[in-house]
Symmetry: C2
């Protein structure tokens, strides 16, 4: 029997609720044993902190109708539910709920690819569909379309899009390429957004706006509804593409890399989510930390320089792709090469691929729309029970902002004993700066330091006017509190809407710092 | 003194409220005389229908603080307010309110261009800023940026963006190029969306998502708040550009035009909002209807054929632009020309411009980021007191859908005595099909027929699975009722949020078919 109860629910009432849930989804789809719940423990957070994010049970519905019935029980019994698409969001908490004792509503059984339209280049999928699944389906049907995979291909397309994840192709901004949703509200009402509200409509995945206010982005990083179907645009397979790597020798070359990349992104020479990654992250793809260094504390700069020299990589490494017809690829590549060739010491390599050719390496595969799991190699970097937590501030697309974020983060990481393991992924006018703190979760000192460090990094950023786009369960309240214009008016508005749409407060209390009235006292309580 | 009172407000109470409003914004900024209110009458709707949309007064605040005080009075006195940026949205009702007796809150005095960033290519503007204003500012400062103007350059940038208007360049999807808002809620709370919620933030106009749910699109075509500042992305001025015109001879060539254009849009050969316009709309730029025909009823096809021949235009005319460096423009133009040259009878003309060259003609100017007023030439087409109302269904980007929408609309228009005056503007996966019914508003038979026709066109479209993206005040409830999935769940959700954010129901009752609880009985009441 389960060891954790939902807050304010007696054991007898909970047991009755579990029986009712089993009568809806089948007994085998209500998980309560410690063994089965193990998959729903925050994978990278050590005890005792993970204890705060323990689920009381897991329910796996197979359909929208089953979700509706689950909601009826949850409202009646005051059960907080934590919906996850598949819960593979490991750096930010996996499938674990923010509020201890929540029942995880795992949607992975709802895994149909409902539609793929080759002509208009879109798909409609359920939450359980992974990037691997969707890629396999396109391949099976020999459709001339690409997906844009997240870093880890096993992730849910719906889940990653809702969390505003991003990829590597020209369709790398997943939220921007989402079009149309079906959402179940806490009261069991099923809403279709945009043109999906036309019952027999033909444009649900074609035009985002619909008529009147539109709400798709309100359901991102959100606890205002359960997304049960999601439309996304797919990239027409290009005639050919070229993947380019630029190696820059100096630590301060980050600034020039950003200044060079920005105009190429803005004038659409480079259309993909180019990446600028630091030497250590690049090195982690082909080596482990102990190959280079076994001292305590952060790796000295001299060792990083040695890695750069021995692996023949850059201190900063820019990776981008150009896509299109053969002549378009030529023109774009020539313009990008001209620009980067101006940087002192830059070395430029490029690999040309026909449409049906597949790169061998993981990061190149991602830029060619092929999902991979190579991102997990990072866990081997530090050794032990490898885990990471990510600090993810939005950075203005300016060299000086990138240098400032990098320098401040690097110094703080060093102070706490960690290497700077990070990089920047280029949107159009911003960069996603992703800084992974990699630690051995069996080492209490490392795990405590990693946890403390996240708040410090976020405070440092906030004092310079930067905010994170996403964060771990443990820092959701902290992140939300940083978005404090007019004494937190945005969060107040979110909670006003929350209380209107979910008066019993059953959906994902605490998600993104939004607490329903009934649980508001739990804010900050970790 | 004003002739119209707000519903449920006595004259004495209203007079007191007007005095209070005058104490906030100054007496000269509270308009009540019939003469001053004339500017706020629906410009294209004849009496008696326009009577239904009469304002009781107009208030012109100069600042966010003044808006907050106006809201306090409105809440206390139950005054419905109808916010407009500048109210130039003539085909859909101008500045007139949906609910008779509403007080128009005209924001045109708030007309500051708060920021233009050339490096990161964005602007932050207040509601009173027009496309002409913003263009003039870029010109004055010699910034290497383009705006994307709406069809009528006198329109508000904020207003057009919020109504999901569109333009003609690669930044033609105005809603998609919006980033960050400041919004005042009905309770006087000021919210900044996305990264704007970081008090001292640096990325408000750079990254849309922020942390947690995002709401910008919830304030589009909406009555959930008053947008007081809006960020928009600007297009870096291209090195050069080519504007291309394709003339297609046959009525059924629409289908091939759409099928040819779609892959060019999807593979990013053509990045702008290309237009496919019918012969009559094209002819209206250079002639009037009586030059060709003075019979009653719709112009016969034989006359349209004669127009096509004599003006040397196409039955359908495709206009698009390619932008970029000289070689990129060459490659893109060559690909597009190859594709269109395959269509039988296609004639292709192209004009090449250096970055600082300006086209002479209105539609070409729009494709070069220069605002114009040439769209208003259409009003002279029919003669008399020219007016128009637009039927604007979203069309899937497929030839057969475009032909179906065109054929059905043309037949209905003919039945009601009107020419097909329309065209399609190309998004990425959809087309905006815009069908203008042009009438003499001094002719009661024409105006009645035009009004009846709109509902019939919308019903025709709905029965085929199409919905409008925007509509006139008179048909907002009708349009909203077409978005009826699950018995209107989307509208119910909007009204739940409306009641939570605006419990007194003071903001724009009836906008987009959304009625606050206090006015819900007015639905459909025109």
């Amino acid at each position: 029997m389960t060891l954790v109860l939902p807050p304010n629910v007696s054991e007898s009432r909970f047991l009755r609720a579990l029986r009712e849930l089993a009568s809806i989804v089948g007994a085998s789809n209500v998980l309560t044993s410690a063994e089965r719940l193990q998959d729903y423990v925050d994978p990278f957070t050590p005890q005792p902190q993970a204890h705060e994010f323990a689920a009381s049970a897991v329910v796996l519905p197979a359909s929208v109708d089953e979700i509706r019935e689950v909601l009826t029980i949850a409202r009646a019994d005051g059960l907080p539910l934590w919906p996850v698409s598949t819960g593979r969001n490991f750096a930010y908490g996996g499938a674990a709920p923010r509020l201890r004792g929540s029942v995880v509503l795992d949607l992975k059984r709802m895994n149909r690819i409902l539609e793929v339209d080759e002509t208009l280049a879109y798909a409609l999928v359920e939450p359980g569909v992974t990037y691997f699944d969707l890629h396999a389906e396109l391949h099976r049907r020999a459709l001339q379309l690409w997906i844009d995979p997240a870093a880890a291909g096993w992730g849910s397309v719906v889940g990653n899009t809702l969390e505003r994840g991003f990829g590597y192709t020209a369709y790398g901004d997943h939220a921007a390429h989402q079009c149309g949703m079906e959402v179940m509200l806490a009261n069991g009402e099923l809403v279709r957004t945009g043109m999906g509200a036309i019952e027999i409509g033909r444009a649900w995945q074609l035009y985002k706006g619909g008529f009147g206010p539109s709400y798709d982005t309100m359901f991102m990083q959100s606890n205002l509804g359960i997304v049960t179907k999601l439309g996304l645009w797919l990239m027409p397979r290009p005639e050919e593409y070229r993947i380019v790597h630029v190696k820059l020798p100096g630590e301060r070359d980050l600034e020039a890399a950003v200044e060079t990349l920005r105009p190429l992104r803005l004038d659409e020479t480079i259309r993909n989510h180019a990446v600028i990654e630091g030497a250590i992250r690049h090195a982690a793809g082909v080596s482990t930390r102990t190959d280079w260094y076994d001292g305590v504390g952060p790796m000295p700069d001299s060792v990083v320089d040695e890695i750069v020299r021995r692996l023949d990589i850059g201190r900063w490494n820019v990776h981008f792709a150009v896509y299109g017809s053969a002549d378009l690829v030529d023109v774009r590549f020539a313009a990008a090469r001209r620009a980067f060739a101006r940087l002192p010491g830059a070395r430029i390599e490029a690999n040309r691929y026909a449409a049906d050719a597949e790169p061998a390496g993981g990061s190149e595969r991602n830029m060619a729309g092929i999902p991979a799991m190579s991102a997990f190699r990072m866990l081997d970097w530090r050794g032990g029970a490898g885990a990471h937590v990510d600090f993810s501030p939005i950075c203005p697309f300016r060299g000086r902002d990138a240098m400032r974020q990098y320098s401040v983060a690097k110094a703080r990481l060093a102070e706490y004993g960690f290497d700077y393991y990070g990089g920047f992924t280029a949107g159009e006018r911003h960069l996603h700066h992703i800084v992974a703190t990699i630690f051995d979760r069996d080492d209490p000192k490392q795990t405590d330091a990693a946890a403390d460090l996240q708040r410090v990094l976020m405070s440092d950023a906030r004092s310079e006017g930067y905010g994170v786009y996403r964060t771990h369960l443990a820092t959701m309240d902290f992140a939300a509190s940083q978005y404090d214009f007019n004494d937190g008016a945005l969060l107040r508005m979110s909670e006003t809407i929350k209380d209107a749409l979910d008066p019993q407060g059953i959906l994902a209390p605490g998600k993104s710092g939004i607490w329903p009235r009934s649980w508001r006292g739990k804010r900050g309580d970790v």
